[in-house]
């Protein structure tokens, strides 16, 4: 089982797709992998927040187990 990483807005534009698969591990490692495969993601990453299985995550050190879903959320701009 892998991790589903869902990308939105500027993060999706940087990565070039809405969903990518990743190996379970720390959130930091998953994001590092994204950045390696899609260098444009480096510019967006510092401004993103994350959901792991719909729960807000505030530290990249958190463990993301197999079967989880990660949402990568750039800064909101509503209104």
């Amino acid at each position: 089982m892998t991790v589903e990483v869902h990308l939105f807005a500027a993060a999706r534009a940087a990565v070039g797709s809405s969903v990518v698969m990743a190996q379970p591990g720390s959130l930091a490692r998953i994001l590092d992998g994204l950045e390696t495969d899609h260098p444009a993601f480096a510019a967006v990453r510092p401004r993103c927040s994350y959901l792991v299985d719909e729960v807000s995550v505030h530290a990249e050190g958190i463990d993301v187990p197999a079967g989880s879903r990660v949402d990568v959320l750039p800064p909101f701009a509503g209104g």
Binding site: F8, A9, A10, A13, V44, R47, L51, E54, D71, L73, P74, P75, F76, A77, G78, G79
Partner: protein, 140 residues
């Protein structure tokens, strides 16, 4: 507790007048409404087109925002809607209205509702400028 009469994230045209009617109430002496509209300029650049993208949780988050505003103020009724997808210049992206007994509370609550929505709602704005460049707002 006031009545939360409408909370929605939708792809169709928003009608500020309709949302005002939704909160109207014989107990309410004041209705304040807000319409946040797509401008033809942003930071001095001419905007050619614009679209909002929403996270699947957006409507649930908007309901939490509405409940928080209802808890902070003495409201008669509240309604708020955000549009996603492409929006033409001059059309509304966000409409909100509150009805209260007295006007001071209506102005404060509507302003707070709009501010909190902009802070918390997981939506993103993509602008294409007249010169062909584009940006995701707040991500530059």
């Amino acid at each position: 507790m006031g009545e939360i009469r409408l909370v929605e994230v939708v792809e169709h045209v928003l009608d500020a007048a309709a949302i005002e009617h939704i909160v109207a109430d014989a107990r309410a002496g004041a209705v304040v409404s807000f319409s946040g509209n797509v401008r033809d300029h942003d930071h001095g650049r001419s905007v050619a087109s614009l679209a909002y993208e929403g996270h699947p949780s957006a409507e649930a988050v908007l309901m939490e925002v509405a409940k928080e505003i209802d808890a902070r103020y003495d409201l008669v009724a509240l309604a708020v809607a955000h549009r996603v997808g492409p929006i033409a210049i001059g059309e509304a992206a966000l409409v909100a209205a509150v009805a209260t007994a007295h006007r001071g509370e209506a102005f404060a609550a509507c302003r707070d509702l709009v501010d909190l929505t902009k802070e918390r709602l997981p939506v993103w704005k993509h602008q294409v400028f007249a010169d062909g460049t584009d940006e995701w707002v707040n991500c530059a």
